[in-house]
């Protein structure tokens, strides 16, 4: 029992990341009909937003500290971050430590702007071109974005720690009356955070007028246009929203997996599989498949399972995708008539 719960928990954080990226991909696909291969790059840029903010906050100037001396007896120069000067040392240190959560606020405008720029500047011109062209141009864009990040931040992963309050692990089992389920705090935070975002996105689509129009546009774009509604503008905003979702997923993922320039591509390949398993164009399907595959992957990594079928943890997601595509061609919750040319 404990082992099963632990595996489910272990699958949740990856599953959350898959679900958030797949949600954004599906939003873009459902509204604009574009297969966005650059979505993983948005996830990566989100993670680097956390890195950038951390670096910005740690910007420092040198101060001569008279009380301490180095080994030659000269007064020691110490780096003092500017935030220390502005907010005092304790508060400044706290701000630096909490740079990852703060990056959420920082990343939203950045990601929305990036999304708008992408849609208006590039993808707009590809609506009438074949899907293959859309895949190719966004693939090219993904390469460019990841190379730019690599140019500025280098090829090595950059550790981005979580706030001290959330480092370390706790006994999850104690909460539910079982024993020995040790689980890192930050992963739980990540899961709760992603649930909040997913709820917010669904709530936004379900309960606001704007969301209603967008859903109507997803169902029948032409008719909504004929009713005198500027659906393109709303879809552009949805693109910005999808970019923000991917970015937030990236920001919060930074402490779990130190950001590097190819993390986006690594996740993108799997997220596409998730989208296809969930059903192209189905938002609940994307979320469900994201968590499902994340948890399946973590179960397949159990030593007992690997003993029976070696290597299963490496291929389980692809295997599931193949089986689902062949038995349920529309995916778990796919709608009829989507991408069935």
């Amino acid at each position: 029992m404990e082992a099963i719960i632990l595996q489910i928990l272990n699958g949740l954080d990856k599953g959350s990341a898959y679900a958030l990226i797949a949600l954004g991909l599906t939003l873009i696909f459902g509204t604009l009909g574009v297969v966005n291969f650059a979505h993983g790059a948005l996830f990566m840029i989100g993670a680097f937003c956390a890195v950038i903010l951390q670096r910005l906050l740690s910007l420092s100037h040198q101060v001569v500290d008279e009380t301490r001396t180095d080994f030659l007896g000269n007064p020691l120069k110490v780096d003092v971050p500017y935030v220390y000067d502005w907010f005092g040392e304790a508060a400044g240190q706290a701000i630096i430590n909490w740079s990852v959560p703060l990056a959420i606020v920082f990343s939203i405008p950045v990601m929305v702007a990036a999304g708008f720029a992408m849609e208006r500047g590039l993808i707009k011109y590809f609506y009438k071109r074949p899907h293959a062209d859309q895949i190719l141009v966004t693939f090219g864009l993904a390469i460019v974005l990841q190379e730019i990040i690599k140019y500025f931040f280098g090829a090595n992963p950059i550790p981005t720690p979580a706030p001290p309050a959330f480092t370390g692990s706790f006994d999850f089992g104690a909460l539910i009356g079982l024993e020995n389920i040790i689980y890192p705090y930050w992963r739980l935070v990540y899961f709760l955070f992603s649930m909040a975002i997913i709820t917010a996105v669904f709530g936004f689509l379900q309960f606001t007028t704007f969301g209603m129009v967008v859903r109507a546009g997803m169902a029948d774009r032409e008719t909504v246009g004929l009713l005198g509604i500027n659906i393109d503008k709303r879809f552009t905003i949805m693109f910005g929203l999808a970019a923000a979702v991917a970015g937030l997923a990236g920001v919060m993922y930074a402490p779990i997996n130190s950001p590097n320039y190819h993390m986006g591509m690594d996740f993108l390949v799997l997220s596409f599989v998730v989208v296809v398993v969930g059903g192209m164009g189905s938002l609940p399907g994307a979320v469900l498949a994201g968590f499902l595959l994340g948890i399946l992957e973590s179960f397949a990594s159990l030593p007992q399972v690997i003993d029976i079928i070696p290597g299963i943890n490496q291929i389980i997601i692809y295997l599931v995708a193949i089986v689902i595509l062949l038995t349920r061609p529309r995916g778990l919750m796919g709608r009829k008539g989507v991408m069935e040319e």
Binding site: V137, I143, V269, M280, Y318, A321
Partner: protein, 405 residues
């Protein structure tokens, strides 16, 4: 000639001449001069040009003709490579059986993958092929280590003793063609120039010409017409009572066998193989090559492959010092500024250049470099003949105008 019309024959002859004279053409700058680093006429790079040319030609038979975008083609290259290296390790160091083995292995694997993947089309097909390729990569990397050598891959070792070769104890075998070592090179010095003729390159080049000839025949055959029909409208094809599946599967397997041939040749040249050959970035690379050159054209994929491999090897070699030499004629400040601007695009940044070039091609030249060439050709022609008109004799189906837009 050879069942080709005169236009195709001349194309084939031009390509043949270019590949055979490549050691001269790719070495236009004298040895030791400042521009010598742009010489691409050394064996290793020339081999890559033709081998990846084969890979891209094969990919083009699938993507260019049927429109099915496979994102997992490197898997066949990898499987072919593994097949070839085992043939060389166990049976004979002669490259021909190894290459045949590579083609057979890749073909069989393509039958399995194609049979399953082709049940879906569009983005689903791309994802399925990607899934298969990633699975092969993951398996080769981990579980299949006894067969694939895992992370380190497979090399010819001193412990290998192929049945048909009498290797001395501890001797490391070398790939050969009936006793001719693949690494043998003849050097020709002509004045300041140094030309290298490599046995391996010429063997690969002959294979590429065969592959190219085959692809012309496929493009011009009734079979090729069927594949084009699949691309332009699969529904209409099935309404006329034809089943598209056997044709697409055949195209898939043929292009898989091309990839296997390329994999076998790679092994024949450097006698090693690793799982990273199957990683999805390798599949992405062949897509880039084909699109860059021009999907659906005969010569495009070869051009694209050559261009990407040239960029990979030459642009990545340029560094700031070389740039400073080039721009030395500028005033100092301007020189530094220019070098600063270009710096991100050279050396390790060649991927950035590649990405930008690729995006520009997809956006402005969907037909790739070949279309670019045709446009320039048409512009020149149009200036000579003021009337111009449709100078393009080939039939280019235009997309039907959408009534409801």
């Amino acid at each position: 000639m050879l069942g080709l019309n005169s236009k195709d024959t001349s194309l084939l002859l031009v390509v043949a001449a270019l590949t055979m004279l490549a050691p001269f053409i790719l070495n236009p700058f004298p040895e030791g001069s400042e521009l010598a680093q742009f010489n691409a006429g050394y064996p290793d790079l020339m081999q890559r040009f033709v081998i990846f040319g084969i890979f891209a030609i094969g990919f083009n038979i699938l993507f260019g003709l049927t429109g099915y975008l496979s994102f997992g083609h490197a898997a066949f290259l990898g499987v072919g490579s593994y097949g070839a290296i085992w043939m060389m390790k166990l049976v004979t160091l002669n490259v021909i059986p190894a290459i045949i083995m590579a083609v057979i292995f890749a073909g069989l694997f393509a039958v399995v993958v194609g049979y399953i993947s082709l049940r879906r089309s569009g983005i689903y097909f791309s994802i399925l092929t990607l899934a298969f390729a990633q699975m092969s990569y993951a398996l080769a990397y981990s579980v299949l280590t006894p067969i694939t050598g895992g992370e380190t891959g497979l090399q010819l070792k001193s412990t290998d003793n192929p049945i048909f070769n009498n290797l001395a104890e501890g001797e490391i075998g070398r790939a050969s063609l009936f006793g001719m070592d693949m690494r043998t090179s003849f050097e020709l010095e002509a004045g300041a120039w140094l030309f290298t003729f490599n046995v391996g390159y010429y063997i690969a080049a002959v294979f590429m010409l065969l592959a190219f000839y085959m692809s012309i025949r496929i493009f011009r055959s009734p079979f090729g017409m069927m594949l084009r029909a699949v691309k332009s409208n699969q529904n209409r094809l099935s309404y006329t009572g034809l089943n598209a599946k056997p044709y697409t599967l055949a195209a898939f397997v043929i292009s898989g066998m091309y990839a296997g041939l390329a994999g076998g040749l790679l092994v024949a040249m450097d006698t090693q193989v690793g799982p990273e050959r199957m990683f999805w970035t390798a599949s992405g690379e062949v897509v880039l090559m084909t699109i860059l050159g021009g999907a659906g054209t005969l010569i495009g994929p070869v051009l694209g492959a050559g261009m990407i491999k040239y960029m990979e090897n030459i642009i990545s070699k340029i560094n700031d010092n070389i740039l400073h030499q080039w721009f030395a004629w500028m005033p100092d400040g301007l020189e530094d500024f220019t070098v600063f601007l270009i710096h991100p695009f050279i050396g390790k940044g060649w991927h950035l250049t590649l990405g930008i070039v690729f995006m520009l091609v997809v956006i402005f030249l969907p037909g790739g470099l070949v279309e670019g060439g045709q446009r320039i050709g048409r512009m020149l022609k149009g200036r000579k003949k003021t009337s111009g008109g449709d100078g393009d004799p080939e039939h280019h189906p235009k997309p039907a105008p959408h009534v409801a837009e």
